[in-house]
């Protein structure tokens, strides 16, 4: 059976070049970069090279790149830095953040912080004006998701950052989905701190980074040894860091080509579905959108059913329905953009990546419409709709 992986926002598959680097590292570069002996010194050199590659890729200085276990730790750390180094009790974020930020902010609320969760418009956007209006004397942090992991909407990060800068407030962005998918240059940016992760860009899991601009005072979140300039203890995960660096190097080689190729495939898939299937709508912004993200709601049916049937044809996707989230409600992002429960339950997310080929899109366009029709014929909601259409209410 064909296997078509369209869940690249959940995680990507390692690129062979990354795997090669990691295997070589595990065999021959698996030292403790903190050791004084010559092996350790080799490790230190590897670490410095990797940090430099990653820094170059995002337009940062090497000393502004701090390694973490991934996006979640980076988000937690960014909030921690604001709490520990700034005086004030107020933070601003949005209702459509990744759980790594949402739950971290909710935890801050329990500790007595006031958090403003800015509502988004129907596309999932907040404006710089909204952020400005939410500012208070005691605001210590603004954190806005760069590219939405569910609906793909890309926020006006630099506009929001300009507001933060004008008011001298720390500005963090969770760019886990955006890095490697949008043009980004931190040397010419208003971003103070940025979370990103290797496994979304064809690198390994369990390694990521928090960019902390040199003008921002760091504060340790994970206490321990002198690694990461003393701000993040724990033996350097060299093989993963070297894989992360290779993934960044590859992503940097042809970012524009990657974006334009995926955007073309994405739009082919979106328009192909909207043309072939009645009663469905695109979630998220049509153009201010991550290049690989397709999120469509199908009326009258439930997302997990679509996933299961797609899975039987070899297509891997995801959904924001309650059944797939393991809770009673559909995803907070879909509710955040104002979808009704019914429409939110019927959402399907397909996220494309560098391994996605045009024939995969053709295959989805062939397999998906009959699945939707089949599920609709099983649905009492569709039956009602058909009665209405036939004037037989």
């Amino acid at each position: 059976m064909k296997r078509i992986y369209l869940d690249n926002s959940a995680t990507t598959q390692l690129k062979p070049e990354v795997l090669d680097v990691m295997i070589e590292a595990l065999k021959n570069h698996n030292f403790n970069a903190a050791s004084a002996h010559s092996y350790g010194q080799e490790g230190k050199l590897d670490l410095a090279k990797a940090r430099e590659t990653i820094a170059n890729f995002v337009g940062a200085e090497p000393r502004e790149i701090y390694f973490t276990s991934g996006g979640t730790e980076s988000d937690n750390w960014a909030v921690h830095i604001a709490k520990k180094t700034k005086k004030g009790k107020h933070m601003i974020t949005t209702t459509v953040e990744h759980h790594a930020m949402l739950h971290t902010m909710e935890e801050a609320q329990k500790e007595g912080y006031d958090v403003t969760f800015l509502p988004v418009d129907e596309y999932g956007l907040v404006t710089a004006k909204q952020v400005e209006e939410a500012l208070r004397e005691d605001t210590i942090l603004i954190s806005i998701l760069y590219g939405n992991n569910e609906i793909g909407t890309v926020m006006p990060i630099e506009e929001i950052g300009a507001v933060a800068k004008a008011h001298n407030i720390l500005f963090h962005t969770d760019a886990v989905q955006a890095v490697g998918n949008v043009p980004l240059d931190l040397s010419n940016s208003t971003i103070d701190m940025m979370s990103f992760s290797a496994h979304k860009i064809y690198g390994p899991k369990g390694i990521g980074s928090l960019f902390i601009r040199k003008t921002v005072r760091p504060y340790a979140f994970i206490h321990g040894g002198a690694q990461e300039r003393g701000y993040r203890g724990g033996t350097d995960n060299l093989p993963s860091i070297m894989g992360f660096a290779k993934a960044c190097e590859l992503a940097g080689e042809n970012l524009a080509g990657h974006i334009s190729r995926l955007t073309t495939l994405r739009d082919k898939l979106i328009h192909g579905i909207l043309e072939r299937v009645p009663h469905c709508k695109l979630n998220g912004h049509p153009t201010k959108r991550l290049p690989g993200n397709v999120n469509i709601s199908f009326e009258f049916i439930e997302g997990e059913s679509i996933l299961l049937m797609l899975d039987m044809t070899g297509i891997a996707a995801s959904s924001g329905s309650a059944c797939t989230s393991g809770s009673l409600d559909p995803s907070h992002v879909l509710m955040g953009i104002g979808l009704s429960h019914e429409i939110a339950h019927g959402s399907l997310r397909m996220t494309l990546g560098d391994f996605t080929r045009e024939e995969d899109i053709d295959y989805v366009l062939e397999k998906l419409p009959p699945i939707i029709q089949r599920l609709r014929e099983m649905s009492p909601l569709y039956e009602e709709e058909m009665r209405k259409q036939n004037g037989n209410v």
Binding site: F300, I301, E302, G303, E304, S305, L308, M309, D311, M312, S321, A322, C323, T324, G326, L328, D329, P330, S340, H341, E342, H345, E377, M378, S379, P380, L381, Y382, E383
Partner: protein
């Protein structure tokens, strides 16, 4: 996918008794859109109160569809009174189990059948004590 066992997947991919019955003797619909599952049952009941035919439509996840399908197999051919004794435990047993967070889906069919029988009882002036206190409009717990 290892999420469901083979029997659940079979009933999801090839659900039995999907559709509707023209001029049914009883129709019932339960569930709500908020929770994400709704089931509608149509019944054909003969003079001896045997459920001769049953059809369903379900809006819901894989386990909701599979539970609906297997429940209709359990119900078909039984008398109304026998059918009303079927509970979600029977549905779960027949399916060979569901993931813990999906167990609530198995309640749907039991409720939908009661709603359809209530409709039949109302139309025919019959009374089933099994339905005393049952309110299909009530949002079921899940």
């Amino acid at each position: 996918m290892a999420m469901y066992n083979d029997k659940v997947m079979d009933h999801f991919m090839n659900p039995r008794n999907v559709g509707e019955i023209e001029n049914p003797d009883g129709v019932g619909e339960v569930g709500n859109i908020r929770c994400g599952d709704i089931m509608k049952i149509y019944l054909r009941i003969n003079e001896d109160e045997v459920i001769e035919d049953i059809k369903f439509r379900t809006f819901g996840c894989g386990s909701a569809v599979a539970s609906s399908s297997i429940a209709t197999e359990l119900i078909k051919g039984k008398t109304v009174k026998e059918a009303l004794k079927i509970t979600n435990k029977d549905v779960l047993r027949e399916l060979g189990g569901l993931p813990v967070i999906k167990v609530h889906c198995s309640v749907l069919a039991e409720q939908a059948l009661k709603a359809a029988v209530l409709d039949y009882a109302t139309k025919t002036g019959k009374h089933y004590e099994e339905l005393d206190g049952f309110n299909p409009e009530e949002e079921h717990e899940h």
